[in-house]
């Protein structure tokens, strides 16, 4: 609608029709128009997060660093899982990056609608903006970690290769999976607050059923089962891009992951769009 300001007033003003059950014809166009709001919401969340925290942005690094050490110790030292020719901490770090991306995008998107209830009940905008902005926040966090990871890997003697250029595809994959799951959770939470308690639960289990602390190519018996977790493909992809030739790809697994992710996302979008019109009434 804001185009009116820039165009001369001579242009026919847009007509808006509001009717029961009408799926708005302009929904996706509106979504594009409100892209600045998406940016502002993401910027707000990042800006606010480390306010009044003495260590500030350092927390974005401390958390994954501690987790890397912990998982390396549990899987590498205690469980003596094979690492191939890569130092174990590096293996874990390469798995932790997509996991961090997913968990922050998923929990952010999952709590986004209820967390912005004051906006939802007072202003109109395509509601998808809110979970999308949570993805943007997660993406920015990942960028910080990624910038630190590449030199760390180089210290261990793993140099970046051309494969790094394919990383965005897997980043996108992780975001879409998080979006699919997050849309379900956030739309359901509007009506049933029970789902708020499910998010931490999924994340607790997820860090173990996702090959964050171990690699799948040394577990041939479990490979197909693990592939039913769509994040498996993403984690394998991240390792493949970051750690070079030592990790091989398992194509059938990737296909299963992809199919499940697609179903999750399509379902999430469908359910969100279906319920979004009632958000303001029930929230």
């Amino acid at each position: 609608m804001s185009d009116v300001v820039e165009n001369p007033p001579a242009t026919e003003p847009p007509e808006l029709v509001i009717e029961a059950g009408r799926t708005e014809a302009h929904y996706w166009r509106d979504l594009w128009r409100y892209r600045e709001l998406l940016g502002f919401l993401a910027w707000r969340d990042i800006k606010v997060r480390y306010k009044q925290a003495v260590l500030g942005v350092a927390w974005a690094v401390i958390q994954p660093a501690v987790q890397t050490l912990l998982l390396s110790f549990v899987f590498g030292k205690l469980a003596r899982m094979p690492a191939g020719d890569v130092p174990y901490p590096l293996l874990v770090l390469a798995g932790l990056l997509p996991w961090q991306l997913f968990s922050s995008a998923f929990s952010g998107a999952g709590s986004s609608i209820v967390g912005n209830a004051n906006l939802i009940s007072k202003v109109y905008f395509p509601r998808l903006i809110v979970p999308f902005s949570a993805l943007a926040v997660a993406l920015i966090d990942l960028t910080v970690l990624l910038v630190l990871t590449v030199p760390i890997a180089a210290c261990f003697g793993v140099m970046p290769t051309w494969r790094l250029l394919l990383l965005p595809a897997f980043i996108l994959g992780a975001l879409l999976i998080a979006l699919g799951a997050g849309l379900w959770i956030t739309a359901l939470t509007v009506k049933y607050r029970d789902f708020r308690f499910i998010t931490p639960f999924i994340l607790q289990i997820g860090v173990f059923v996702t090959p964050v602390g171990y690699r799948t190519d040394f577990l041939p018996n479990w490979r197909d089962l693990l592939a039913f977790n769509p994040l498996t493909g993403v984690v394998d992809g991240f390792r493949w891009c970051l750690l070079g030739g030592t990790t091989e790809f398992y194509v059938p697994g990737l296909m299963i992951s992809f199919a499940i992710a697609a179903v999750l996302l399509a379902g999430g979008l469908w359910y969100f769009r279906k319920t979004e019109r009632q958000f303001a009434d029930v929230i």
Binding site: L16, I18, A20, L37, R44, V48
Partner: protein, 421 residues
């Protein structure tokens, strides 16, 4: 363009489904109820009874280019629901609306303000939430800051702002939206008197610039001041639409109807319900019931209630206030003003407030009713009843007091003396 409708609303209805759940005061009751609810849901798929409630029923109207329309009605009449549907926050159940032009709706001042962010940052955030472009906000930035008078605190987080500054900043952003159609919900009921005047001025500019506006308010004075047309809603339906004066009259009339209705069925009340007002009656000083009172005569107002209090209470606060047809608070009657006389509570009874000589101008006064016991609000009703007073012979001279002598009449003695130097 001047006579084409920019908003047309046809047969608009909105239904809400309300779930009824019993209230529980202790954990055991809650657990018992939850178990029963789960069991029922498991067997029949529904845990509790639901009831339909039509917030709007078959509402149709048109707004033409350049009109400033006031939507008036008491609490629960459906005004806010109407605005929410018009601003696309919620969906109608049936009906159709078509709107031509860029709409900006302000249902709240400062939507999306974040306390941790500075004033500068919040201007951008709030602007984006209200649908402004970044370039547009940047262009109007200085104007917004000047209007809000917060130059010195631009880089201070708004959580350190005084509430006045906060509201000023929030309104300033909204006031610079520049839409073709503006939808406003009682945002003017905030801020200090001077700032309210400024906001009204800004609203007036909207009207003069030939832009279309919808304006919801309880304040009849500002409705009369700003609007060219009024729509009166009651119980989800349009009662009247027409020029502002007749709409305001009709609004007061909808208030009068309630007088006969018993208060116990009013849904729009706040409080814990341990004491509920049932009805209000007026009596002359001999105790005979009256419906209207002459200015200058005495009146007893009886506030009938029922209560579930059975033990001792420490403290009770009963009050009602009077507002004139412009929405201006005239006076308040409260037992705490007279030094908290002990008012014992019965299962069913009435509080009586005697006003020995009424001394305000004849007219209809809208009254809110309030009771709290031991610091807890028991019952609180806006527009609970109407106090109607006829112009009378206040001074006992045999003449009515001229209407242009003000709103309050005072007992007075005059004399003349010689001053010695």
């Amino acid at each position: 363009m001047a006579n084409t409708p920019v908003i047309s609303v046809e047969n608009l209805s909105k239904r809400y489904v309300i779930g009824h759940e019993a209230r529980h005061d202790n954990l055991r009751d809650t657990l018992q109820h939850t178990a029963r609810k789960l069991w029922r849901r498991f067997r029949w798929g529904t845990g509790f009874q639901t009831e339909e409630f039509w917030a709007l029923r078959d509402v149709s109207f048109e707004v033409k280019q350049g009109e400033v329309v006031g939507i008036i009605g008491r609490n629960g009449a459906g005004k806010s629901t109407l605005l929410k549907i018009l601003s696309r926050i919620t969906e109608p159940t049936t009906g159709r609306i078509s709107i031509t032009g860029r709409v900006a709706s302000l249902l709240e001042v400062g939507t999306g303000f974040h306390p941790e962010l500075s004033g500068r940052e919040n201007i951008f955030l709030n602007g984006a939430i209200l649908g402004m472009k970044r370039t547009e906000i940047r262009r109007k930035f200085d104007e917004i800051v000047a209007f809000a008078e917060v130059e010195k605190f631009l880089d201070t987080p708004v959580k350190y702002y005084s509430s006045g500054m906060y509201v000023r900043l929030a309104f300033a952003v909204a006031a610079h939206l520049d839409p073709e159609i503006l939808i406003v919900d009682e945002v003017l009921a905030v801020g200090d008197a001077e700032f309210q005047k400024k906001c009204l001025g800004k609203m007036g500019e909207v009207a003069e610039a030939g832009r279309t506006a919808l304006f919801v308010s309880h304040n009849m004075a500002s409705v009369q001041h700003l609007c060219t047309r009024g729509i009166v809603l009651a119980e989800g339906k349009i009662v009247t639409q027409g020029n502002t004066a007749s709409a305001v009259q009709a609004y007061l009339h909808t208030a009068r109807v309630v007088q006969g209705i018993e208060l116990q069925h009013r849904p729009d009340r706040k409080g814990n319900g341990k004491l509920r007002f049932l009805a209000v009656t007026f009596h002359d000083l001999t105790g005979k019931q009256v419906t209207s009172i002459l200015c200058g005569s005495g009146v007893s107002v009886r506030l009938h209630y029922e209560s579930t209090y059975n033990g001792q209470i420490r403290d009770i606060d009963v009050a009602f206030n009077l507002r004139n047809d412009a929405g201006v608070l005239i006076t308040c009657f409260a037992n705490i003003q007279t030094g908290r006389p002990r008012l014992p509570i019965h299962a069913r009874g009435y509080f009586e407030c005697a006003w020995p000589k009424t001394n305000i101008r004849g007219g209809e006064y809208d009254c809110a009713l309030y009771c709290s016991i031991d610091g807890e609000v028991c019952d609180w009703l806006q527009n609970a009843f109407v106090f109607s007073l006829e112009d009378g012979d206040f001074f006992g001279t045999g003449h009515l007091v001229p209407r242009d002598h003000g709103d309050v009449l005072c007992e007075q003695q005059w004399s003349s003396c010689v001053s010695c130097s």
